[in-house]
Amino acid sequence: MPTTSALPRLTVAVTGLNATDSPGPGVAVIRALRESPDFDLRIIGLSYEALEPGIYLRELVDKTFQLPYPSAGTAALLERLAHIRQQEDVAVLIPNFDAELYNFIKLGPQLRALGIHTFLPTLAQLEARDKLNLAAFGAAHGLSVPTSRPLHSAAELLATAETLGWPLVLKGRYYDAAVVHSLAQAEQAFARLAGQWGVPLIAQQFVAGQEINIAGLGDGHGRTLSAVPMRKLTITDRGKAWAGITLADEALLALARRFAEATSWRGGFELELMRTTSDELVILEINPRFPAWIYLTAAAGQNQPAALLRLAMSLPVMEMEDYAVGKMFVRYAWDLITDHTEFQQVAALGEL
């Protein structure tokens, strides 16, 4: 992307280019980064599959390299990143998938040796907020969370439902969930989720109310540098936000601050909450990364990805306080046009 900017050049690699109906956050992160007032950015996309739409968004992504799947392990990932580093002067890497974070965190020192900076939670932080550990996490920090338990086989469903009650929420370890109202539905959902994401699944008590999400950025020392609450206005049949609006509610901001302070959270995070009819805020899930709607934070005046970029470069970031309330996003589907030669290049050569 040609530029005449006087800002310092910086190359940033970003994963999560799957801007699909269950989107990864990468494209939204890049869109926010492009509005950074600090750097003239070259964006390197990191993809896992050849049809991730972000690869073909050439106005946002300058070049893309494919990565080995997280299951290939850290050695394969490091080898690939070293290869990429030989070709591109990547200074910062922003991973955006839950499932890949373990490897990237684990490789932190090696990445630094390659000259690649990150700003990620610690392994202990990553594991503490894992869906499997959420109940203990809530108890340890005095945060309200639903009762949950791991499910290793469908045979445990009935006893679990008797304890937690119907309806029951079944969740995959990293992604996907189903609300089930009967044993038959539960067995069907168990087979689907376990087949796709493996076991254990997580069975969680159903909490009724209004769903609210908070995107935040912790400095790793207990400070919340930014927190923006959003209510989903339209959701897809997979429960993903298709439209949302920023909210003004001190209780939500206080909860985000409490979370970051209790955990000394380092990096982006998303709290998925339910506000019950009795006005209690229950944390359903804690995502250890930015959400797919993160561009709304930039649009509302708190550009969290741009702030994270500064943190990764060891630049100071002030606490952000004001943001536009009532700022909305409405997602849309768009048919990107590309050519088979570009697709073949990604599929066969692993870069474009």
Binding site: T234, A248, D249
Partner: protein, 99 residues
């Protein structure tokens, strides 16, 4: 689902009684009749008369004066105005818009 409600206080039959229609201070209203609750993200659309009533209450106008004006401007019996006024109040309360 997008929350988008319509208040039902239509010109042919407004009404009037005892009045405690005080919107929460954070509730935003527009001249066009849109109401926004920034704490919940809920949006509402009031019809022109309801919008006018809300705008006047926000400026601190007395309920009795508003009702008297409505009775003068519209062909509506006082009893009907009372009933519709109560309906509006109930809706505002249900939507958590009142102090």
């Amino acid at each position: 689902m997008t929350t988008f409600y319509r208040l039902n206080l239509l010109p042919p039959h407004p009404s009037l009684p005892f009045f405690r229609m005080k919107l929460k201070p954070n509730i935003a209203t527009s001249d066009a009749g849109f109401i926004f609750n920034p704490a919940t993200g809920d949006s509402f659309a009031a019809n022109p008369l309801a919008a006018d009533i809300l705008a006047r209450t926000k400026t601190g106008q007395d309920a009795a004066a508003i009702k008297a004006d409505i009775l003068e401007r519209y062909d509506v019996a006082p009893g009907q105005l009372e009933k519709d006024w109560d309906d509006l109040l109930a809706q505002l309360r249900d939507f958590n818009l009142l102090d």
